[in-house]
Symmetry: C2
Subunit: 123 residues, 2 copies
């Protein structure tokens, strides 16, 4: 069952689009202290991939700024985007104090000088 | 095929988590001019749901701030989170000038005083 993890949190519209429901969407943006330092970038990306081992993360995407149009409203200034879907606020709360997450922060927090987190739930 | 739209952009790890690959992640945060005005909120939410009719959107989530812990790095100040996954930058570019998107902006831009957009792609 390739996508079993999604089955409980999604439904499909007539148009073929998947509208995620029942998820807590946790999106973190990191600004590296040395954005041109590729070793720092690689360390952070590797560490985020390790972080995905936390079992309450049901779906994820790790990325960097896209080369979309430069518009006033589009922020391309961050270094790394880390998007994780949880089933509930409870799961996200437990993730915050999970040993893997605490280790991630301890070992990597020196790399960044700014973090912005957005947590969203269904309306 | 309930989740056919995802099949091309995802794979599953041993742990059961879905790591999205090949996606352009477009995340928009809206700050309403009148955040306590429930009619404005409902109008924006309804308009965003209409916006999902754009065919290049493969997956989406519409939300409001979660009641996660108040931490300095967590921004709970926005009114609405609108997350859309495209297959490519090209699809996101065409979405920007799609008639449904232009209509959305024209009819609703008066509701907000701040928008922040983050576009991310796989590393």
């Amino acid at each position: 069952m390739a996508l079993a993890g999604l089955a409980g949190i999604s439904k499909q519209s007539a148009a073929g689009e998947v509208k995620l429901k029942g998820a807590l969407v946790h999106h973190v943006f990191f600004w590296l202290k040395e954005p041109e330092n590729s070793k720092h970038l690689q360390q952070l990306l590797a560490a985020l991939n390790e972080l995905l081992k936390v079992e309450t993360i049901k779906m994820s995407h790790i990325g960097v700024p896209a080369s979309t149009e430069e518009r006033d409203v589009v922020d391309h200034s961050y270094s790394v985007s880390y998007l994780a879907f949880f089933d509930s606020k409870k799961d996200q709360d437990s993730y915050q104090v999970h040993p893997i997450h605490l280790k991630f922060v301890e070992e990597n927090a020196h790399l960044w000088n700014k973090v912005v987190v957005y947590d969203s739930v269904d309306v």
